[in-house]
Amino acid sequence: MMPTNRGTCALACCLLAGPVLGAVGHGPSANELFADAIDAGRQRVVKLYGATIGREKAYGCGVLVSADGKIVTVLSVLLEGRHVRAVLWDGRELPVRILARDERRQLALLKIEAGHLPFFELTSSGDLTPGDWVIAATNAFKVAEGSEPVSVSVGLLAGRAHLSARFRARDFPYDGPVLLTDLIVTTPGCAGGALIDARGRLVGVIGKPVVGKLTNTWVNCALPVEEVAALVTAGDVRLGDAPPEPTTRAVAEKPADLGLLLFDVGGHVRPAYVERVRPDSPAWKAGLRPNDLLVSLDGQPITTCEDFERLATRLRAGQRVALVVKRGEQLQMLELTVEPPPE
C-alpha cells in the first residue's frame, strides 16, 4: 500500500528536503573540493635538479612510488648531470641514483636513500572518464623551492588517445596510450609531475612537452599509471647505473605484402590513391581497385601515402582490418585480411 496521497508525499519530501538543500554552501567546505588530492600530491611529488644543455631546463619533478624512495620521472638531460638531487616536500635534499631508463616511454626510475616516505600506489587509471576532475602537481617554472609546496592546478581528463608527436622536431618515441588533459602541463618543470584524481590517487605521470602531429599544438598529456607500473616492475627495461647503449628499435618483420601499389605524386601532400592492385592479392580480395582513395585503416586516418605505409608495417599475418576508401563520390567500407608472406 503506497501512499499516493499527494499531501503526505509532499510532507515526507519536505522532511527529507531540509538536510538535502541545506547541504552545499560557499563556506570553507566549498574551498576544500580538492584538498585530499592536493595534500596527496604535495607530499609525493619531489623537485629534481640536475644538469642543463642549451634550452633544456636543469629542473623538473618526479613522483614517489615506493616508501623506500623510488621515483618515476621523465627521461631528460637533467638526469645526465653528476649531481642530480631530489628535494622532498619537507625540504630534505638527497642525491639521486638512476635505476632504469625506458627509452620507449621516455621515463626514468630513480632512487633516493630514505625510508617511510609517502608514495603513490600504482594502480590503474581505468575508471577515470573524460569529464572527471584531475589535479596536476608539478614544479612548473620551479616556482616552488626548498620546502615550498609544489604548484597545483585543477582541470579535466579531456580524453584518451594514442600519442603521435614530436619532441624538438624529432619523432617522439612513445606512441602508446596517453591521458589528455585540458590543463597546461607542457611548461618547463611540469614533466614528471603527478596527475591525480579527485580522490588523491595517481592516474598518470605528466609527459614531456611534445607537439602533436595531428594538431601541431602542444599536447598536454600524461602517461597512464598502468604504463608507469610496467617500468617500475622492470618488465622490459635494462637496469643498472651506467647509461645503456642507445636502444635499437625492435627490428620490424618484413611488412606484409598486400598486393597494393599507391600512386606517388610527389610533393608535400600525397593522398593515398591506389594505382595498381595485384589480382588475387589480399587487397584485390578485399575489393580494392585502382583509383580508390584510401581514407582510413581501422579508424586511423590516412591523409598521405606515408600514413598508410606506417600503418601497414604494423599489420601481422592473419589480421583483419577495416579499410575505408573513397570511390567516386561515395565511401566504401572494405575488409582486408592480411595473408602470411609467401616463403
Binding site: 503506497m2 501512499p3 499516493t4 503526505t8 508525499c9 510532507l11 515526507a12 519530501c13 522532511l15 527529507l16 538535502v20 547541504a23 552545499v24 560557499h26 566549498a30 574551498n31 576544500e32 573540493l33 580538492f34 584538498a35 588530492a37 592536493i38 604535495r42 625540504g91 589535479i135 612548473a140 617554472f141 616556482v143 616552488a144 623551492e145 626548498g146 620546502s147 615550498e148 609546496p149 609544489v150 604548484s151 597545483v152 592546478s153 585543477v154 590543463l183 597546461i184 607542457t186 611548461t187 618547463p188 602542444w218
Partner: protein, 551 residues
C-alpha cells in the same frame, strides 16, 4: 542510439520514469521511519546541485564585475589594463606598471561595465610592490569590492580573475577567468627592487596582457589580490597557466600612503640571514640598520617576524619585503638558547630607477581633511557645539598660542589638576591643545600638514597625519584606518618627532560630553600622567561658521 533533448533542462531517457518511482518509494519509507535513507541521488539531483553551485557563482561574479575598471591612457583606448574600485567614493587599486605611462599627467580613463568612461586620476604609487591607487570621478557613488584576509586562502580553492586581457572589452564588461590557487607565498623576481612580487599568490586562472591591475576574487566576491604578472615562456606572451597576484594583506598596509598620494617605499631590516643547518642565522647586520637599532645581534637565530614563523631566507624576504618603510616589526630571535623579542622600525629600502613622481599636495591635504572629518564623525557624531558641565572647580586656562583663525572661533578650556605630581603647567596644556584643537576642526588644513601614510598599532592599521608648527614642533595623529578612531597622538620636534605620546583615556558615560575628557601622556623615559578635563566650553563666535561645518 541518438538521443535528443526534448525539453529544456531534461534528458528524457528511459531511466527517468524509474527515478520518479524510486522517489515515491523513498518518501514512503522515510515517512514510516522504516529505513535510514541512503542518499542515492539520481542524475536530476546531480544537475540540481551543480546548477545551484553554478548559479551562486554567477551571481557573486555578476556583483563583483561592477567594480572592475578597464583602465586606459587615452580616450581612444589604445592601451591600458585593469583596476578595481575599493571604496564607494571611487578609490581603486591597480598595478603601478599599468599607470606608469600616466605619471606625468596623472590622468587617465576608467571604463565601467555600465558602459561609461570615467575620468581617472592617479594618486599614490608603490613601484616596489607594483601597486598604485587611482580615483574615478563623475558619479556620486561607485560599486566597490571589500578586501578579504588573504591569509585565509588555501591552495586548490577556486578564485576568479576579472580584467581586460588583450583589451577585448569593447563595452567595458570584464573578462572573467576561473582557476584555483596554485601556491601561496610565492616569490617572483622583479627588476632590481621594482615590481618585486615577494609574497604573492600563484593562480591557475588564465592571466594575459591586459589583466594587470585587475582583481582576484574568492567565491564570496571579495578581493584577495591584485593580478599583475604571469610566467611566459616559449609561446610568447600568452598564458600558460601561471599567474601571480599581490595579496590584499600586503596592499592594505600601503593604503593610507596610497590614498595620501605618496610615493611608497618598502622597508628593510638592513640584515641578511642564512641557513646554517636547521637554523636561520643573522649573518650580516649593517651598522645603524633597523635591525641593529632594534636590538638584533650578529649570530642571532631568527624564529619569527610579527609572530609569523620564518624558516628559510626566502620566507624572510617574503615577510620583510612586503612591509612599508618605517613599519614596526617585532622579531623573535634565539640568543644563546634564550628567546628574545627585539622590536624594530624598518628603514627605507632605496629604489634605483625610481620614476620621477612629485606627490600632489592637494591630494594629500584632501586625505588629511578626510581623516580629520572622519575622526570627528567617529568620535563626536556630527561636529558642532559641544558643551559640558561637570562638577568641580578648576583653573581657567587660555592657550598662549593665538587660537583665533580668521572667521572668529574661540576655545576655552578649564582643566582639573593632573593626577600625578606637579600639576599641569602651561607647556603641557599647550601640548595638549596642539593635539586636540585640530581634532575639533580648528585650523585650516594647508601648509605644514602632511598625510604621512600608515603605521601599525596593536595590530591595527593606522593612518598618520602630521602637522608642523613653528619652532620645529610637530604633532602626529594616528587614526584607525577603518573606523577613524584616534588611536594615539604624538608631539615632538625635528630630531625626535615622537617624544611624547598622548592617547584618549577610557570614556565615562556623560550625556553631553562626547569626546574624551581623560587624556594620558607618556614620554620616552616612561613618565606617565593623566589629565582629566572637568569642563570644557567651545564657543563659536560666528553662527554662520557653524552652518558651514555641518556635514
Amino acid at each position: 542510439m541518438v538521443v535528443r533533448n526534448t525539453r529544456a533542462g531534461r534528458l528524457e531517457s528511459p531511466s527517468s520514469g524509474r527515478m520518479r518511482r524510486a522517489r515515491r518509494l523513498r518518501s514512503f519509507w522515510a515517512a514510516t521511519g522504516a529505513i535510514q535513507v541512503a542518499f542515492a541521488y539520481g542524475a536530476d539531483d546531480d544537475l540540481a546541485l551543480v546548477r545551484q553551485h553554478e548559479a551562486a557563482r554567477v551571481e557573486t561574479l555578476a556583483r563583483a564585475a561592477h567594480s572592475v575598471v578597464c583602465i586606459y591612457e587615452d580616450r581612444e583606448r589604445s592601451g591600458g589594463g585593469s583596476g578595481v574600485v575599493i571604496a564607494p567614493d571611487g578609490y581603486g587599486l591597480t598595478n603601478f606598471h599599468v599607470v606608469a605611462s600616466m605619471l606625468e599627467s596623472r590622468r587617465g580613463f576608467g571604463g565601467l561595465p555600465d558602459g561609461k568612461l570615467y575620468p581617472l586620476r592617479v594618486l599614490g604609487i608603490d613601484p616596489g610592490g607594483d601597486v598604485a591607487m587611482f580615483k574615478l570621478d563623475g558619479a556620486e557613488r561607485f560599486d566597490f569590492l571589500s578586501l578579504a584576509d588573504s591569509d585565509e586562502l588555501r591552495a586548490g580553492q577556486w578564485v576568479a580573475a576579472l580584467g581586460n586581457p588583450f583589451l577585448l572589452a569593447e563595452d567595458y564588461t570584464p573578462t572573467i577567468t576561473l582557476g584555483v590557487v596554485s601556491g601561496l607565498h610565492r616569490y617572483q623576481y622583479g627588476q632590481g627592487n621594482l615590481l618585486e612580487y615577494a609574497d604573492c599568490i600563484q593562480v591557475s586562472t588564465s592571466i594575459n596582457p591586459g589583466n594587470s591591475g585587475g582583481p582576484l576574487v574568492d567565491m564570496t566576491g571579495r578581493l584577495v589580490g591584485v593580478v599583475g604578472r604571469a610566467s611566459f615562456e616559449e609561446r610568447g606572451r600568452v598564458n600558460v597557466g601561471l599567474g601571480y597576484a599581490v595579496t590584499t594583506n600586503q596592499i592594505r598596509r600601503f593604503l593610507p600612503a596610497l590614498r595620501a598620494g605618496r610615493l611608497c617605499e618598502h622597508g628593510t631590516l638592513g640584515a641578511t640571514v642564512e641557513l646554517l643547518g636547521d637554523e636561520l642565522i643573522f649573518h650580516a647586520v649593517q651598522s645603524l640598520s633597523a635591525a641593529e637599532r632594534g636590538g638584533v645581534e650578529l649570530g642571532d637565530g631568527l624564529v619569527a617576524i610579527n609572530a609569523r614563523p620564518v624558516r628559510t631566507p626566502n620566507e624572510y624576504n617574503n615577510v620583510v619585503a612586503v612591509l612599508p618603510a618605517e613599519w614596526p616589526v617585532s622579531l623573535t630571535v634565539r640568543r644563546q638558547g634564550q628567546l628574545r623579542t627585539p622590536h624594530a622600525r624598518l628603514a627605507r629600502l632605496t629604489l634605483r630607477d625610481v620614476p620621477l613622481f612629485v606627490p600632489d599636495l592637494d591630494v594629500n591635504h584632501a586625505e588629511v581633511r578626510r581623516l580629520l572629518v572622519g575622526y570627528e564623525q567617529a568620535d563626536r557624531g556630527a561636529p558642532g557645539r559641544r558643551v559640558a558641565s561637570l562638577h568641580g572647580q578648576a583653573r581657567t586656562w587660555t592657550p598662549s598660542v593665538p587660537s583665533t583663525p580668521p572667521g572668529g572661533w574661540t576655545f576655552t578650556l578649564t582643566a582639573a589638576e593632573a593626577v600625578s605630581e606637579g600639576g599641569p603647567d602651561a607647556a603641557l596644556l599647550t601640548e595638549w591643545y596642539d593635539v586636540v584643537w585640530p581634532l575639533l576642526g580648528g585650523p585650516e588644513v594647508g601648509m605644514g600638514w602632511d598625510a604621512r601614510g600608515g603605521d601599525e598599532l596593536d595590530g591595527r592599521l593606522a593612518a598618520v597625519v602630521e602637522r608642523r608648527l613653528e619652532g620645529g614642533r610637530r604633532v602626529r595623529w594616528k587614526f584607525d584606518f577603518e573606523s577613524h578612531e584616534l588611536l594615539e597622538a604624538t608631539v615632538g620636534n625635528e630630531s625626535q618627532p615622537e617624544s611624547a605620546v598622548w592617547w584618549p583615556g577610557p570614556r565615562r558615560p556623560c550625556a553631553e560630553l562626547r569626546w574624551p575628557h581623560v587624556w594620558r601622556r607618556r614620554t620616552a623615559d616612561g613618565a606617565e600622567l593623566e589629565i582629566r578635563i572637568e569642563s570644557c566650553e567651545v564657543a563659536f563666535e560666528s553662527a554662520e561658521r557653524v552652518e558651514e561645518r555641518a556635514p
